[in-house]
């Protein structure tokens, strides 16, 4: 099994979620994060003092996937989450040794 993590623009989440749902992938965990890389931050001004705020609001998705689904999910996220300008974010894949569904105690792929 895999854990697919995506860091997205805040306004891309709805599209990504819909695209995934269309493919039958409807489980995910969402975190509000801030990111920092090539995309420039913004500037605020308070009583004449400028504050440059480099961290940018992003949304992180964590999706547990069966090995077979992983590539499609990554592909779907990339397509639905792309705006083409700097700051679209990353997707990465990590190995998962086991997954358990707390409610039932099921293990492995059936727990996803």
């Amino acid at each position: 099994m895999k854990l697919i993590t995506a860091v997205l623009r805040e306004d891309a989440v709805d599209d990504v979620q819909i695209a995934l749902a269309r493919q039958g992938i409807s489980g995910m965990t969402v975190t509000e994060v801030t990111g920092y890389a090539h995309q420039r931050g913004h500037t605020e001004v308070y009583r004449g003092e400028e504050f440059t705020i480099s961290f940018i609001t992003k949304i992180r998705l964590d999706i547990l996937a069966k090995d077979a689904d992983a590539d499609t999910i990554v592909q779907t996220i990339c397509t639905a989450g792309r705006s083409g300008s700097i700051g679209d974010g990353k997707v990465w894949i990590q190995p998962v040794e086991d997954v358990v569904r707390i409610r039932t105690g099921e293990h492995g792929e059936s727990a996803i």
């Binding site: 979620q17 819909i18 509000e32 569904r101």
Partner: protein, 448 residues
């Protein structure tokens, strides 16, 4: 009604005082709302707001008449006399038009009922609260206001028995409002039962800036409450004004010192609570004590109320926001303190002066009697109302709604949405998010 000349200055003062007192109920909504957890802030505020709606309408129809109509045996005003405010236009109360007095007293009736809501945080059905408001206003507040506020000859020929027979002083409502609401809160909290997790899980205030806002606006409004009760723009009003500054100031300091000594820290919730305790305590006494007497009452209230809070843990009733500790105890302190500090030059005779101000025990006895009658009546009748509701429509929301948050369960709203990223997967109206794929409504529970 007796007929005097209308005085525009007095009328202006009572008009603005009425608005100040009305503001106190939204202020209470913020004071209380900030103290609860974020998942019940709206319900807490709604209980105050809907009380303005309900009691506002009741007062104009039969409430004023029950409180200030000609007395039936000192116990109840004639509800027909001023029904729908008939016979009010053209009449006066003192030097102000009677309709102005109606507005002023309306605001008192509203806040008295709203105070009780602090005891029922996060668990009472909103519909049950609404019915409770109608019942409690009609069966408890209107009568009690009659007893205490209806002086013979002021509005109608004959008034209530506490004002005229017992002759307890209650300048602006320590008995009729604070003791009354405090006793009711106790009864309702007992019948309702504690919040899930009471005394076990932490229920800390979710927004202390809101609490401070409430306290600030309450203080502001209370100048109308107390100084407005002089029903004129005169020295008495001025004295009440200054006492309404001095007592809560002293109570705030006393509460903070108590906290510092006992818990190690002076808190902002303590400051806000001390202010309210001092305001409650000076309410009945504002016109019969000197400013130094007001400071003394403030100190008593600050220390007394802050010590009284732990009672609820000892006895196990969940008076969530300490209506008993602040309003019942504070109201008692103020009402009885009149028997100690009332100044003969202000009350008009040594006979009515307080024990420590050269008077005897007479007035203290009257004060205790008046307070006791209201306390017991309010507790009993509230208990009966609460039991009746519990057995018919039910008082509490389902456990799951309480856990998930009463704001969502009862009002289908959340207090705050401060998320910067407004990701959603919401449906707006009935339009689904996946129009091409109606088989996948992502809001439907799917089997695993």
């Amino acid at each position: 009604m007796t007929f005097h000349e209308i005085n525009t200055g007095d009328t202006a003062w009572v008009l603005i005082s009425a608005a100040l007192v009305l503001l106190m109920t939204p202020a209470l909504a913020f004071f209380y709302g900030g103290m609860v957890r974020s998942k019940s802030v709206l319900n807490m505020m709604m209980m105050s707001f809907v009380t303005i709606g309900i009691v506002g309408v009741l007062w104009v129809t039969y409430g004023f008449s029950m409180a200030f109509g000609n007395s039936i045996g000192g116990v109840l005003g004639n509800p027909a006399q001023f029904f729908g405010l008939a016979n009010v236009l053209g009449a006066e109360v003192g030097t102000v038009p009677a309709v102005v007095f109606v507005g002023f007293q309306a605001a008192f009736a509203i806040i008295a009922v709203a105070l009780i809501s602090g005891a029922v945080d996060a668990r009472m059905k909103f519909s049950a609260w609404c019915v409770f408001v109608v019942a409690w206003a009609s069966l408890v507040y209107f009568p009690a206001a009659h007893w205490v506020f209806a002086f013979d000859g002021a509005v109608a020929e004959r008034g209530g028995f506490i004002a005229n027979t017992i002759q307890a002083f209650d300048f602006a409502g320590g008995t009729a409002i604070h003791i009354n609401a405090g006793a009711a809160a106790l009864a309702l909290a007992i019948v309702l039962g504690p919040r899930v997790g009471f005394g076990k899980v932490p229920m800390r205030p979710h927004n202390l800036t809101l609490v401070m806002l409430g306290a600030g606006l309450l203080w502001f409004g209370w100048f109308g409450f107390n100084a407005g009760s002089a029903l004129g723009a005169n020295e008495l009003a001025g004295l009440a004004w200054v006492n309404t500054l001095a007592a809560p100031a002293a109570a705030m300091l006393a509460w903070l010192v108590t906290e510092r000594v006992r818990d190690g820290h002076a808190t902002s919730l303590g400051a806000a609570s001390g202010v309210v305790a001092g305001l409650v305590a000076i309410t009945p006494a504002a016109a019969v004590v000197t400013p130094l007497g007001a400071i003394a009452i403030g100190v008593l209230a600050g220390v007394g109320c802050s010590m009284a809070l732990s009672l609820k843990y000892r006895f196990g009733y969940d008076d969530s926001l300490d209506v008993v500790g602040v309003h019942l105890v504070g109201g008692l302190i103020g009402t009885l303190a009149i028997g100690l500090f009332a100044d003969a030059s202000l009350t008009g005779s040594l006979d009515t002066a307080g024990l420590l101000a050269g008077g005897g025990l007479t007035q203290l006895g009257r004060q205790a009697l008046g307070a006791g009658v209201v306390l017991i009546y309010s507790f009993l009748v509230t208990w009966l109302i609460a039991q009746a509701l519990k057995r018919t429509m039910g008082l509490r929301v389902p456990m799951a709604a309480e856990a998930h948050g009463i704001d969502l369960g009862e009002h289908a709203e959340t207090g705050y949405d401060l998320s910067k990223a407004q990701y959603s997967s919401y449906n707006v109206g009935k339009t689904l998010w996946l129009p091409n794929d109606t088989s996948k409504d992502e809001n439907t529970e799917v089997s695993a």
